[in-house]
Amino acid sequence: METKTSTGSSQVETLAGVHLPIYMDNQATTPLDPRVLEAMMPYLTTKFGNAASRNHSFGWEAEQAVDAAREQVARLIGATGKEIIFTSGATESDNLALKGIAEMYRERGSHIITQVTEHKAVLDTCRRLEKSGCRITYLPVKADGTIDLEDLKRAIDDKTILVSIMAANNEIGVLQPIREIGKICHERGVLFHTDAVQAVGKAPFNVIDDCVDAASISAHKIYGPKGVGALYVRRRNPRVQIAAQIDGGGHERGMRSGTLNVPGIVGLGKACEIAQNEMAEEAVRLSALRDRLKTRLEAELDYVHVNGSMEHRLPGNLNMSFVYVEGESLLMGINDVAVSSGSACTSATLEPSYVLKALGLGDDVAHSSIRFGLGRFNTEAEVDYVAAKVIQVVRHLRELSPLYEMVRDGIDLTKVQWAAH
């Protein structure tokens, strides 16, 4: 099938009209939109000023660009420019929100509620806060990946200062009911932070309607550059205060010192503007592509399993387990397609995905999972290529799989005495 038409980079064009390798891992990161790069270029070249330089035009034009970007970010999420703090990315934003709020509200209480499928940027920050005396409640999730709101209500007590629940999960794309969560928090007088990295620009998200007090945003998940993000911090009803975690020149109204990454910030702003204009249309297109992929895989393969809710889900995410096939071996077979696996073998810890395990999936199903992350630049031809390739490789690996053979012979794998190692 493959021809050798080299196309500039290391990509190869096939007869099906797709360029290999295909990038379908857009929950990990996204390519830079050319329009974003275009907006950034002047600030990487001639307009190099420091936004904090108050006494010359180089500084002024940088500051203007930052202010414009602040407005673009704010507009996308229903905030005001003054509520946006630029950071190095969402990990920093999560750290700043949790540690900054825990420190500032210490007198009022030290109980924080989060949930088990959060990103490590939230979970590991919570672990550190536990060491410094905070009490953390980790809510479980239901089989569809969402939390139970009754669990949340029960967990809030008079020492609770903060609830941190992500808007959309990075592995399974599941959207948490953040509007309901926000309402509960506001009724109970508790602050609500959300890691909105995966949701912003892809699913409706509005800090007013969703009663959000702090939200973490990243540029590189929305076709912007890496190394830049933002933290939304509410200014009224209530006014949220955050203790700075990086000391220095008092940038970002004292909440985050450090010379501003002007080109990155301009890129984040432009990425937000594009997302605002194109999100609705893009969501429809990506949902259709995602469903096309899912339908093909389900039609051609048995023992496939979608992980997490299909109803409450990001448009571009599909997380599927191909049971009785180990994820890393599947990735090896589809090595011209960039996707991720929840298999232990692909992680540094040799543990299968904690997110999938939290859904109640057995380790064996977690080991068999693949995350397909569709994005702005994926095409229907690519989806068809990926579907065909996955089907072919899963069939090959099932020919090799003793488990598949045993199940087809009617053996109950849970009754087998395995020699664990």
Binding site: E326, M332, D363, P402, H421
Partner: protein, 138 residues
């Protein structure tokens, strides 16, 4: 992760994939690993009772590319050897042949276990003592 050419070759062209009749007296079956660990190997041998030579070896493996390659290689190596000779295969030989990185050494260990389990099963079925008389070199 980068795979060695040998691992890729075994993954793309696995040797001796298949199933032997488990109930047959001359067949030994080794099933090692566990689904929740992400590796299960089934290695089967058909042994000539007179010569104790492994005349046929088949495998099926659920696991990563290195696990598939380790078991595929194991079947290649044990075929034509006597059972006692096959027992001399060490996981380190497999690591070397496939250039497995440290994180994949457990795959080779599992393959060695599978060889031992299959031979053990055959010996048990056939009443062969663990210390059977040494057989002449092949």
């Amino acid at each position: 992760m980068a795979y060695s050419d040998q691992v890729i070759d075994h993954y793309n062209h696995p040797r001796n994939v298949g199933t032997l009749d488990k109930a047959s007296a001359d067949v030994g079956t080794g099933l090692v690993g566990a689904p929740e660990c992400g590796d299960v190997m089934r290695l089967q041998i058909r042994v000539n009772h007179e010569t104790q030579v492994i005349e046929e070896a088949k495998f099926k493996t659920f696991g990563c590319g290195s696990a598939i390659a380790s078991s595929s290689l194991a079947t290649e190596w044990i075929k034509g050897r006597t059972v006692n000779d096959a027992l001399s295969i060490k996981n380190t030989d497999i690591v070397k042949e496939l250039s497995l990185p440290p994180v994949k050494i457990h795959c080779s260990v599992l393959a060695e276990d599978a060889i031992r389990a299959a031979i053990g099963d055959w010996k048990k079925k056939n009443g062969v003592a663990e210390l059977s008389p040494p057989t002449p070199a092949r």
